[in-house]
């Protein structure tokens, strides 16, 4: 599954225009606690969160996350998006709740499809 597949699945909008979404991703780490992201996420995960501050971008960079999904219709401000662009970290914004976004991704995984 690529980031682009996930964007379509969540009806999401790419906020960091120009960043490639064709990267394959296999793991999602969903949390609003950056402390937990730092302690427990695996490299190559997508970070899903309801937080929209610059620390989300910095945390994503430091843990080698492939991208950020911002849930619940929240939108980071332009400074945060600019920081993500500088670091080449894609941000996708979706109106889904964290639970709904995780559910949709889970249901679309091979083996879980109806």
């Amino acid at each position: 599954m690529t980031l682009q597949d996930i964007r379509l699945l969540l009806g999401g909008e790419l906020l960091t225009l120009g960043i490639d979404l064709e990267t394959e991703c296999l793991k999602v780490f969903a949390s609003d606690l950056m402390s937990d992201v730092l302690a427990f996420s695996e490299p190559g995960s997508i970070l899903m969160t309801g937080l929209v501050n610059t620390h989300v971008v910095r945390t994503a960079c430091l843990v080698d996350a492939l991208g950020i999904i911002v849930v619940q219709g929240k939108r980071p401000d332009t400074a945060v998006v600019a920081e993500a662009l500088r670091n080449r970290v894609p941000i996708i914004a979706t109106g889904c709740s964290m639970f709904e976004a995780c559910s949709r991704i889970c249901r679309s995984l091979p083996g879980n499809r109806p």
């Binding site: 620390h55 960079c61 843990v63």
Partner: protein, 147 residues
């Protein structure tokens, strides 16, 4: 210090400056990556640096991160002037936190910081004096491992 340094740089960190929190660690990560070190080691060093940097920002008045890279290890010293830690054993316990609501709103303060620094480093030394500050001495062995 008898080892030959390949690279050394100091980064100042200002207590309370949440908006710049993580900048030094991102810079350190980029430097380590540009030195061609193994990405797994770079990630561990970056996480340890970020936790240490945020601890300075959240709890201390001022501090610094000192990065030294030799052919066999990455050494990070995080030193601050601040209130210090009265009970290091308690502070090391996962889940123990004295974070304020402001810190929690940013996604920090889960009480994982020091334990996570220890987890991501090969040697971990901590000294603290109440009313003066805290010093962490961390190393990650690289043994010349490149990307």
């Amino acid at each position: 210090m008898t080892e030959t340094a390949s690279f050394q740089q100091e980064f100042k960190v200002k207590g309370g400056d949440f908006s710049r929190g993580g900048e030094a660690s991102c810079e350190i990560k980029n430097l380590l990556r540009d030195l061609g070190l193994d990405p797994h080691l770079v990630r561990r060093a970056a996480i340890a640096c970020y936790e240490a940097e945020m601890n300075i920002i959240m709890y201390a008045w001022q501090g610094r991160l000192d990065l030294l890279v030799t052919p066999h290890r990455i050494r990070i010293i995080a030193e601050d002037k601040g209130p210090g830690i009265p009970d290091i054993k308690q502070a090391m316990r996962e889940g123990y936190s004295t974070a304020t609501p402001e810190m929690r709103e940013l996604g920090f303060g889960a009480g994982m910081g020091l334990a996570n620094i220890k987890k991501n480093t090969d040697t971990f030394r901590i000294r603290s004096k109440v009313g003066h500050g805290t010093r962490l001495e961390l190393t990650i062995k690289t043994n010349g491992r490149k990307a």
